[in-house]
Amino acid sequence: MINDKNSQKIVDIIQNWARQHSIWVLAYGTGCGAIELPPTMTSRYDAERLGVRGAATPRQADVLLITGYLTTKTLKRVIRVYEQMQDPKYVVGFGSCTINGGMYYDSYNTIKVLDKYLPVDVYINGCMPRPEAVLSGFAKLQERIAEGRAEGAKKYKENLEWYRANQKKIIPNWVMPDYNW
């Protein structure tokens, strides 16, 4: 009865509804995009009415918001942070730099395509995306969660070797703890 498929479906719907309306964001301020978050959170745009709230540590966070360009040096830290987060977890790539490098397309130490290194659920394009765009990105993420399609963590675990190979390609000196240490 408990492990019945239909009852599991109902449980999934309820859980996804809760996940959808309670999004705790770890805003990893890698680049210039971090400046767009205070207006998103404060009284003009008020993301908290959608259940979007800041989280202080990766252990409590649901969404890793990568705001802007990622140098190879920050990518190392982002990977560490991402692996410390608890399942289910989502990644939101924020700004052009995470999509195709943006204005740092020919930089010698900035990665260009984020989803080769971490499973990205939603991209928000723009340079910079305005708070409206950020909110619409969160709305898109909520849609995906409700449909049960935001399973980046599962994808990451299943294809961990592929992601690791990509990560190790640009981080040659790999001294990192194990997954979810």
Partner: protein
């Protein structure tokens, strides 16, 4: 046998009530904060959604057995203090396990939770946790002084250490203790500001500064247990204050009104102030609140 079953059912009912009311109060706090900041704010049931989400996290890492016990200690402390505090004056549905001397028992058991959390946070190895724990214990040394002074004043004045006896005193005399021993009430309310750990005494959590302090390594289900325990504990504190100083409550509606009015004090005070540093917070508690506590004891000794 029947009475045992009745007690167990009543305890479960009390716990559920405390959980629901505590969570809704937490949500209302967020809503009030949002309205004061000219925002729409989350719905009042947002805390339930958060709790549900935290409970449905698929993984929760832990660093050892003591961290496992940390949230459990907080929960045990909250539930034990809930069982001692009478919810209503003429309670049929909410039995409590109070006895002579339960006020002293409460003084001890309310410290037990934070101490358990300190043990749990110590094992996570996170430096923020360690700082948060030291701050939390320092803050406790701050607000325990006026709080204990207020309670001792009540004990001296009415020659009892039982909460039910104190409630009976208020019913017989017809006046609330907040009027007959006002200094004790003032000291206790000032201590309550520290107990709730809202701003300006949010030095333990301090999200932007300490990454939420002792709980920084706890995610998912651990955080869920801590959140529920915190909500229950908030209800316990408010009910205890209502019992001690505001004459208790005959039914649930009066209880909710009285507790909510009391709850508005730390909430609204938190909106007007910013975070103190640890030494400032302790100095604050050892200043006027302790002075009022001393006045309360003097009043209890000389003007019975």
């Amino acid at each position: 046998m029947e009475s045992v079953l009745y007690n167990i059912l009543g305890a479960v009912a009390t716990f559920l009530l405390a959980f629901v009311v505590g969570m809704i109060y937490g949500g209302l706090n967020r809503k009030i904060t949002a309205r004061v900041q000219n925002r729409k704010g989350p719905p009042f049931y947002q805390n339930f959604i958060d709790a549900m989400k935290l409970a449905s996290k698929r993984s929760a890492i832990h660093h050892g057995i003591m961290q496992h016990f940390g949230p459990a200690f907080i929960m045990v402390s909250s539930v034990m203090s809930l069982m001692v505090v009478p919810v209503l004056t003429h309670n049929q549905w909410f039995p409590n396990l109070n006895f002579h001397g339960d006020l002293i028992f409460l003084l001890y058991i309310m410290v037990f939770g934070p101490l358990g959390m300190a043990l749990g946070a110590g094992q996570t190895g996170n430096p923020n946790s360690a700082i948060g724990v030291t701050r939390g214990l320092s803050l406790m040394t701050g607000f325990e002084i006026p709080w204990v002074m207020a309670l001792v004043a009540l004990m001296i004045q009415y020659h009892t250490t039982s909460i039910v006896d104190l409630m009976n005193v208020q019913i017989q005399s017809g006046t609330w203790l907040m009027f007959s021993s006002p200094f004790a009430f003032i000291a206790a309310v000032m201590a309550m500001l520290g107990m709730f750990r809202y701003s300006p005494f949010d030095i333990v959590g301090a999200p932007a500064e300490l990454a939420s302090g002792p709980i920084s390594e706890n995610g998912g289900k651990y955080l869920f247990v801590m959140m529920s325990a915190g909500s229950v504990f908030a209800f316990v504190k408010l009910t205890l204050y209502v019992d001690l100083f505001m004459g208790g409550a005959d039914n649930l509606v009066i209880l909710l009104v009285k507790t909510f009015v009391l709850y508005l004090i730390p909430v609204l005070y938190s909106l007007t102030t910013v975070r103190y540093r640890t030494e400032h917070a302790i100095r604050w508690f050892w200043g006027w609140p302790s002075f009022f506590g001393l006045l309360a004891i003097l009043q209890a000794v000389f003007f019975k």
